[in-house]
Symmetry: C2
Subunit: 340 residues, 2 copies
């Protein structure tokens, strides 16, 4: 599809542009990479590459910069895998493979590490409760009208909530309801907790318990909301593409919209392995100057969430892919071990 020399030229341009953020000219390439040809020849190749849409020219007397399509080809076919340095791998493992870490903290630590490793914004979606299975439900009566609901979900998630009730309940009554709910819910997945199941459960309880059960189930549904963290926003400001504050502001605004982030990372959650979304491939306009590298993480074989990084399209893809992969694998390992 692309002859060998064109590939070399394209790679050289992308590599150079990633490093310097400056449009790269034929002369630079001839000097820096020893292709054994003159700048004029390279110019011809560059003209061809621009023709196919892999390169762009900001203006006529500037060098070339890669287009989104060019980056795509680079990522798919040209990029040299570059493993994370041993010391960084060690650091990640040291900080992440602590079995006493709670999942939330582990994910926060993962976000921090990822942001540190890549010097860009890291995104982490906490396990989507949707697919999780109820393992243990418990109501405890703290005071007559104050009930503590604790919920344990299959891979490693615990949720708690304090509920105030209208009526007063005796500890015994609450205990009974607790046991009954436990029997009902055990093994069911969160997703299955639709209106029908809900009503079915509610209808099985007598007059006394019904109000309480309703309250509990309602609060469970509310807890369903997905969590997402974005860390390291400051690091991205040092990138030259955000010298213009307007752009930065637009991006930051987007970063505060959880639903946007979720839909972006959500799309990644389907495929397995590291996924790269480049510039305009992202349907959300304010992020079209950015690329996103994501990977799912899992607990014992089941995908439970995704994490990734976001940076300008001119990002060091090789490094990003390696870092995201490393952290995703390490998190998966930690969670799976804890879960077993």
């Amino acid at each position: 599809m692309l002859d060998e020399r064109k590939r070399l030229v394209l790679r050289a341009i992308v590599d150079s542009y990633i490093e310097t953020a400056e449009p790269v000219g034929s002369r630079t390439i001839a000097r820096r990479h020893d292709l054994g040809v003159s700048p004029a020849t390279i110019r011809n190749e560059m003209a061809d590459l621009e023709e196919i849409g892999y390169l762009e020219q900001p203006h006529v007397s500037a060098g070339r910069i890669p287009s989104d399509k060019g980056y795509r080809f680079y990522v798919d076919a040209l990029m040299e895998p570059r493993p994370i340095p041993d010391e960084d791998v060690e650091k990640v493992e040291r900080q992440l493979l602590d079995p006493q870490l709670t999942p939330e903290r582990a994910l926060q630590a993962a976000a921090k590490l990822l942001s540190l490793l890549t010097e860009s914004v890291s995104l982490v979606v906490a396990p989507s409760t949707d697919q999780l299975v109820f393992k243990h439900v418990q109501l405890v009566c703290l005071e007559p009208s104050s009930i503590l609901v604790t919920l344990v979900l299959h891979p490693m998630i615990v949720k708690t909530r304090l509920i105030r009730t209208q009526k007063e309940y005796s500890p015994e009554a609450v205990g009974e309801i607790s046991d009954a709910l436990n029997r009902k819910l055990k093994g069911i997945t969160y997703r299955q907790l639709g209106a029908t199941v809900l009503n079915e459960i509610i209808s099985e309880f007598g007059e006394i318990g019904r109000a309480l059960v309703e309250l509990v189930l309602q609060s469970l549904v509310e807890e369903k909301e997905e969590q997402i963290y974005a860390t390291g926003a400051s690091s991205i400001l040092s990138q030259p593409e955000f010298r213009d504050v307007q752009r930065a502001a637009a991006l930051f605004e987007a970063l505060e919209k959880k639903d946007v982030l979720l839909s972006v990372l959500g799309s990644a959650a389907k495929s397995s392995g590291v996924k790269v979304i480049i510039g305009q491939e992202n349907t959300y306009a304010p992020m079209q100057a950015c690329s996103i590298v994501t990977c799912t993480y899992y607990v014992g074989g089941d995908v439970v969430g995704a994490l990734g990084v976001l940076g300008p399209t001119r990002m060091d893809y090789a490094k990003m892919v390696a870092a995201v992969d490393l952290v995703a694998q390490t998190v998966s390992m930690l969670l799976s071990r804890q879960h077993r």
Copy 2:
């Protein structure tokens, strides 16, 4: 201390600068505020105000801008209180006074509202567990080596943690230890959980329980860490003082350091009522171009946390103070109601 006209002039300058972000000249004031004197007279007053250190001149042919000291005087003596518009008050109350809200969500909502109201960064410290009192401790054995620890603290805080143990425990043993711990800890404050009390408790348990109790207590101590949210960072980028990306980057970096934020808000937690920290009054250098307005919130009379906003020194102090006060009072009301 300052004669009436000087006060009027100073106020006019601060008001105008807050609005336009442009150095304000004598002519502008004469035109916009009807002081009944000529620009020349105002110039004389301005020269005096600069002498005392209330005003500064960016360069000789520019107007004056308020110094930190000038802002301080403005906040303490000049500013006209400006209540939040009714519709906004209503909005805050509607969103915040929902008794079903968990404290965490309430605080997150508060941060969002505050950021929306003030168009700047809002900060919220979650209740510092330090002063909280143990109300209920419970261990539940999910599997022989997997124990769920639930913790209820006096005003409204619930914490949960899943612990994996080395040894295996029977449900009965765990239940016993749970009850014993509950007796021991009930009524104690988190702060009192020092090494001595810890050891005292540990030593009371037999060989069997000791390892488990140790694990539980250790995890409790870890949970002590304070939480802090910073929301709305994007809004601050539209302020003209952050046209320079460098400054913005420095500030954002500071915003990601929890300890810095905590120490800033922590200092506010002592005094009651709304507190304003202006520019250089803040000891942390990267924030000296910013002012911070904070207020504590409380549960039934006890201060449990603080919230506030952060923006350029050229912020609309009257609006900020009103907004912070409103949100703090509303949060306090919600939490206190829930707690009663």
